[in-house]
């Protein structure tokens, strides 16, 4: 990896953009939700407040939510690329973004309770590297707030409550159950990422990976695409609404993926993402310069 300062600059800019502005497809989904809430003035009031906040943050170049969340980085690198240097540059960019106020001091030592100055610690940020066929480095960043992360759930099927057997109907029941349990506490309206199968760890990982998908895409697996639509429609009827204060905008989207599983296990993992759905991506060239912004 050559030109370390340029890498750090590009990664810093990725963090800044992610923190201060929502991706266009998410903001669009919020606007559509507002348009649909024509009859419910209270739900409209919340959504208008949320959208006003998004604009305010963009204009003033400040984090759009003060919980700047867990920093989930996902890299696709060319074969033979030095990932150690890349993670070092990323840590430096995180520390700089924290110093400049684009990230809150948001990382706590789980044993002593001390707060880290820079958000760089064991387990923070979170990295995932994969090798890709291309010549560029593809970086995606998701910032996921704690309030929404707390609303995640994992079901081991069969599961008596909510009456879920080992089939897609069982998956539907689990997801609706998780959304009902969450109420507005994950800062609804949110998006759920779901993984069918996998193990307890990979299930959560794959559920979160769904958040890399655009709001308007559909699963390529037709049965899952139908299931996503069905759950989204069912969720409007729950009446939870923005902040759990009533309305049809309980969810903005449902994204479902599947991993293979063992015959003995059938997990359904649900990850909840709040309306402050911060996701950005960038393609970086060999010297760390920005080639193209994603989303």
């Amino acid at each position: 990896m050559t030109g370390r300062p340029q890498w750090e600059d590009s990664l810093f800019e990725l963090i800044r953009r992610t923190s201060v502005d929502l991706p266009g497809d998410v903001e669009e989904a919020l606007r559509r939700a507002l348009a649909r809430e024509e009859k419910d003035a209270r739900a409209r009031w919340f959504l208008e407040g949320i959208l006003a906040n998004v604009e305010h943050a963009r204009r003033t170049d400040t984090p759009l939510c003060q919980d700047t969340g867990a920093l989930l980085f996902r890299f696709h690198v060319p074969v033979g690329f030095d990932t150690n240097a890349l993670s070092a540059a990323t840590r430096a960019a995180v520390a700089r973004a924290t110093r400049l106020g684009y990230l809150r001091q948001n990382t706590v030592d789980s044993v002593s309770g001390a707060v880290y100055q820079t958000n760089v610690a064991h387990g923070s940020p979170v990295f995932c590297f994969e090798q890709g066929a291309r010549d560029t480095v593809d970086v995606r960043l998701i910032m996921k707030g704690g309030g929404s992360e707390n609303m995640g759930a994992q079901y081991s099927l069969p599961c008596a409550d909510p009456g879920a057997e080992r089939n897609l109907e069982g998956v539907r029941r689990c997801v609706l159950d998780a959304v009902t349990r969450a109420q507005g506490n994950g800062c609804a309206p949110g998006v759920v990422g779901v993984c069918i199968g996998g193990d307890r760890a990979s299930g959560h990982e794959h559920a979160k990976e769904q958040f890399l998908r655009r709001m308007d895409d559909r699963s390529r697996v037709k049965a899952l695409a139908r299931l996503e639509q069905r759950i989204l429609r069912d969720a409007t009827r729950l009446g939870i609404g923005p902040m759990g204060m009533g309305g049809i905008a309980t969810l903005l989207g449902v994204k479902i993926g599947a991993l293979s599983r063992l015959p003995a296990s059938f997990f359904v993992t649900v990850s909840y993402m709040c309306w402050a759905f911060r996701r950005r991506g960038v393609l970086l060239g060999r010297n760390g310069g920005v080639q193209r912004w994603l989303y």
Binding site: Q66, D67, C187, G244
Partner: protein
């Protein structure tokens, strides 16, 4: 519709005014409030001396982001934090200090609801996550207490609000909008599970060509 026309609410709050607020009423809060999160709650609950007068006042569950500026502080973000963490402490503080307003997000439990009914206090929900926009409704920072001991987020900030947007989510009769919506949504969930057509895993057209 009157519920949805924001009603001004000015500190110090009066009992009559608070008892007159209906569930679901939109309000604009102005005047003094004090932020308090876990550390301040525990400190006061354990009998620590309160440095300010909370009578007929408001507590806001918020850990602001602030920077020093000439002659004082500027608040950059002032969004709510999850209120339910203070459920164990809140009832005692409401009654001991005569609090009239609690601001936060996500609602509180039955003990706080009862305390609201007993002593005449409301819980207001504001917009979760909307830190920067809500900071624009902080007109001034009067002061800060326990900054050294508890740190920026956990300190007790004395803020002057201006038309701070919120909604009455627990009224002074102890009625809770959260409870209503939660119960209704659970009934719908049962219906969606028990009475609706189950999702068919296979349908003609699903198979890829």
């Amino acid at each position: 519709m009157a519920l949805l026309t924001p009603r001004p609410l000015q500190h110090p709050f009066t009992l009559t005014q608070i008892r007159g607020l209906r569930l679901g009423q939109l309000v604009k809060v102005s005047g003094r409030v004090y932020t308090a999160r876990d550390r301040v709650h525990k400190y006061l609950f354990d009998g620590g001396k309160c440095p300010v007068d909370l009578e007929d006042g408001a507590i806001y569950h918020c850990g602001p982001v602030a920077t020093r500026k000439e002659g004082g502080w500027e608040i950059l973000a002032a969004g709510p934090t999850t209120s339910i963490r203070e459920e164990a402490y809140a009832p005692k503080l409401i009654e001991q200090y005569g609090l009239r307003v609690i601001l936060g997000k996500g609602g509180m439990g039955p003990r706080t609801e009862e305390a609201c009914a007993r002593s005449g206090c409301v819980y207001l929900q504001t917009i979760g996550g909307a830190g920067p926009m809500l900071a624009a409704h902080v007109a001034r920072v009067h002061g800060v207490y326990f900054l050294k001991e508890f740190g920026m987020a956990e300190a007790m900030w004395e803020l002057e609000l201006k038309d701070f947007p919120a909604i009455v989510a627990i009224d002074a009769g102890g009625r809770s909008l959260y409870r209503r919506i939660q119960q209704a949504s659970r009934r719908v969930l049962r219906r969606l599970i028990e009475r609706e057509e189950p999702f068919e895993a296979v349908r003609s057209g699903d198979a890829d060509p």
